[in-house]
Amino acid sequence: MSANNINDRIKDMENLVLRVKNLNVDLEKEEIIKDLSFEVKKGDVLTILGPNGAGKTVLLRTLLGLLPYRGEIHWMPGIKIGYVPQRLPFIKDIPLSVKEFFRLKGTREKEVKEVLSLVGLNDDFLNKKMEDLSSGQFQRILVAWSLSLNPQILLFDEPTTGIDIGGEETIYGLLAKLKKEKDLTILLVTHDLSVVYKFSNYVICLNKCPICQGSPKEVLIPDILRKLYGEEVKFYEHHRH
């Protein structure tokens, strides 16, 4: 092996944010994820695509160390993860202002203002009650929350859930903008194909067992999509401009 090759490999290793090898997750004796392997490099936007019940959220939760698994999950040592959950149903049980929600994490007010402005919200939101926010505002706050204290990677669980189309557009616009500004690596879960084409450079199709992975243009061919979503489901062709 030449010195260049070794250097390249070392560089690759340094750029590696996450490596997953032969991952298996069983819940209550049901096989949810089977033999999944992939890597995430710095600056990647990786989408995990699959129908409802495909095990996407389970995968995210496993990566976060919340579920038991077999196989290997290696995060870059000392990495800071920002997690944006799908919903926070219990938050309405607790009287909480936006400012206090950030305080739970230990974010200082100055930084809260910064991340709020990053997601397009002004300082007036600091004293608003969490339960009074619209779903779009709530989603933005969650994104801002995950962004505070400078994570290197963001994990998004179905960021579109509960947001109207207008809001959905801006959430992805927002993600693209954030990625540029903050030099982030993003791993997101969705069942929305258009997101994959617009936004990510690598896709894993998952329906319990991994069906395909690669760049969206390479792997999202009609045959694969049929396999992923079933024969009956129509798929969106992506437009090459």
Binding site: R61, L64, G65, L66, I81, G82, Y83, P85, L88, F90, I91, D93, I94, P95, L96, S97, E100, R103, L104, K105, G106, N127, K129, L155
Partner: protein, 262 residues
């Protein structure tokens, strides 16, 4: 003022002090328990302490001391039930904690039943008061230290874990705080009413608060105030202090319903 009067006054002040300290900290912890939908847990735990209280009354040592091993047993049971089985808290209450009451009444002298059930703070000693206050202070600090992290855990364990929070550790500290407050609480409101000591001030504060700091301060305020007024009423009326504290607390709760922010 005669010496007897001074003694009575002194005793009254000791009761007040112990009551205010326990009531305030219980109300504070109660806000955390309400967020976790665990406010009622203090009830069955209190019931389980009854055999310990009975032993303490029989052999003449401090009721909190008697209650403590039983409340620890209860905490372990809760932990086991949560981790190992799918049985609900309801089943736990029905099976285990009710048997605490049953066992206590096998050997509790009936004339001391009232003290065991609804507490008696009227004859608390100086040393008892001192120990109570000294225990309450670090307990308050402990609750304050775990408060934000526990709140995050209550909102979402996933989110907390992604922030690197050791959920087991915090749950343990939280349960430990509950154990101490229940053991102290039985002193003033007995084995039957401990749930009310933590739950009602917190519920009142919930009704009146717009944010977390108002909520937690409200818990402390209504907890301490209810104890203060309850013991004051006991002084005036001669009815047992424990039930009076809870009745005052309930009164505040009813008032809070009127002002509840919809």
């Amino acid at each position: 003022m005669s010496i007897i009067d001074i003694k009575i006054m002194e005793q009254f002040l000791l009761s007040l002090m112990a009551g205010i300290f326990i009531g305030g900290v219980a109300g504070y912890l109660g806000t955390l328990m309400l967020s976790k939908k665990m406010a009622l847990v203090a009830g069955p735990l209190g019931h389980l302490t009854l055999p310990g209280i009975a032993l303490a009354l029989l052999y003449g040592f401090d009721v909190s001391l008697g209650a403590f091993p039983f409340v620890i047993l209860g905490i372990i049971l809760i932990w086991l039930f949560e981790m190992r089985t799918k049985l609900s808290m309801e089943a736990l209450t029905a099976i285990v904690f009710a048997s605490g009451v049953a066992v206590a009444f096998l050997f509790l002298p009936i004339e001391q039943a009232e003290t065991a059930l609804v507490g008696d703070i009227s004859e608390i000693s100086f040393l008892d008061t001192l120990i109570t206050c000294i225990l309450c202070l670090p307990l308050f600090v402990l609750i304050k230290r775990i408060y934000f992290k526990m709140t995050l855990i209550n909102i979402s364990e996933d989110l907390a874990k992604s922030e690197g929070i050791n959920i087991k550790k915090y749950n343990l500290l939280y349960l430990f705080s509950i154990a101490i407050i229940v053991a102290l609480g039985v002193k003033i409101v007995g084995g039957l009413l401990t749930a009310a000591l933590v739950a009602i001030p917190a519920a009142t504060a919930r009704n009146l608060s717009k944010n977390l700091s108002q909520f937690s301060l409200g818990g402390i305020f209504f907890g301490a105030l209810s104890s203060f007024l309850g013991i004051l009423l006991f002084k005036i009326t001669g009815f047992p202090a424990g039930p009076l504290i809870i009745i005052v607390s309930t009164f505040f709760f009813l008032i809070s319903l009127i002002f509840k922010k919809v």
